[in-house]
Each structure stands twice: as C-alpha cells, then as structure tokens.
Symmetry: C2
Subunit: 139 residues, 2 copies
C-alpha cells in the first residue's frame, strides 16, 4: 500500500499523522506476517533510527484502538499485530512461530449457522475465530 493511502487511513480515524505512525503501519503491511513490536522496530530502524520502543507500543495501541490493525495472541506470550482486519482465521505453525491468514468464507457460514441454531445459554456471542494448529510443509 502506498504511503499516501496509509496517511489517509490514519487521518480518517482522527489520529495525527506522524512519521512514526506511518512507518509502523507501513511496516505491518509490508512485513505482512503478524509481526511483533520488535519485528516492527527492526523493520523501521533505517527510516526511524531514534524511535523509542515505548512509542512503538503506544502507536500500536492507538492503531488497535481505532480498528486499523488487530492484536493476535499466541502461546509464545509475545503479542503479534495484524494489518488484515476482515474476519478471518489463522494457521499456527507449532514448529516455528509462523502465523498465516486463513480465509474461508464457507467456514464462516458454517459456524454462523451452527451458532445461530445452537444458542449457548447464558452467553451472548460477539465473535469467534478458529485457531488451526499444525505444520507448514515449508518449515
């Protein structure tokens, strides 16, 4: 995604467009694989050599807060960040820490129907996701 689009995306949410925010969001989009805060720091260190790690966390929080990105939890304990905000699922590699998007509209329908039919007493569903664990051939 071009820088101008990124600037617009930030501005449209009423956030100030700062070089740090642009660099971080660009990093998430171009890394494109659920990076950690540290991965992002590494990726932007040429363009933002003096950025504070605390700033990265604060920017990430702001982006999550405004639904520009999503937070992804893993077994490993470190938070990961996701630039793809449509409803989707994840493939988790149990050998390395790779997380790949898994988009499956048929699965979404299947689950939506299932949960519509089978109400859970005492619980109101907001959303759901399938975590698929396994191994990639490439790993």
């Amino acid at each position: 995604m071009e820088i101008e689009k990124i600037r617009e995306e930030i501005a449209n949410k009423g956030l100030k467009v700062t070089p740090q925010r642009v660099a971080i969001l660009e990093a998430i989009y171009s890394l494109n694989n659920h990076p950690t805060a540290e991965n992002i720091a590494d990726h932007i260190k040429e363009s933002q050599p003096n950025i504070a790690i605390g700033t990265i966390y604060k920017v990430l929080d702001a982006l999550v807060e405004h639904n520009i990105i999503k937070k992804v939890t893993t077994e490993a304990g470190k938070m990961r960040y996701d630039g793809f905000t449509e409803h989707h699922h994840h493939l988790y590699c149990i050998e390395c820490d790779l997380i790949e998007d898994y988009i499956d509209e048929e699965l979404n329908e299947l689950l939506k129907n299932h949960f519509n039919k089978k109400r859970i007493k005492g619980f109101h569903i907001k959303n759901f996701a399938v975590q698929v664990n396994g191994t990639f051939d490439k790993c």
Copy 2:
C-alpha cells in the same frame, strides 16, 4: 476428585508424587475455572504456605509436559491452566477474564468434516479449537 486419584495420576506418568504437585493439581481441579499460577498459589496457601512461586511454575510445566493439564493463552497475557484435557472449546468473556469450557461434539464433527473436505495446501493440521468471544449474562 479424591487425593488418591490425583496421586495415581501423577505417579502413572512417572513423576514423583510430592505434596506440592498434589496440592497444585488438586487446586486446578477444584478451582475448575482455568486459574492462573497466582490463583493456584492463593488456593493452596493454607496447605502449602512455604511453596515458592517458581515451584508452582515448574510443577505446572511438568504437568503440561505430561499431558495432565493444558495451557490456555488469553489476551490478558497471563497463562491459564486447564485440568480438562479432552478436546473442547472455550467461551471467553470480553468483560471480565472468565473462561468457560464449551463442549460441542456436533461442532467438532462439523469442523472435522469441513477440514477433511477442504484441505489447506502446504499445511498439515494437527488440531484446532474455536475461540468464542462474548459476554456472560451473569457478568
């Protein structure tokens, strides 16, 4: 579950039966709601007033390693522990940190069939779970 059953469960995995291990596993079973290490520490502090927090973590690791319990990750960052090891899903309260078991054999079948039919190229599925987020009426 009676203490003797717990001692057997530990011994059967080739682990030494120590009062600390028995107390921790008993705590997980009787708390029965995906406690944190700290929840467990609180629960056993009368019977094990001198247990080191590091011991709790080491015992939990050993129990997970031997498939007596399972680790559950959450958004909140703290690890939770689950004494129910059969394949099941979880209901996550987005208001408090409550996690309830969600057992749905029909859902398991649905997903198993779906993933059998729809192979994911380059990925070999080991297992999967549905994370259901929402709110409990009681919260």
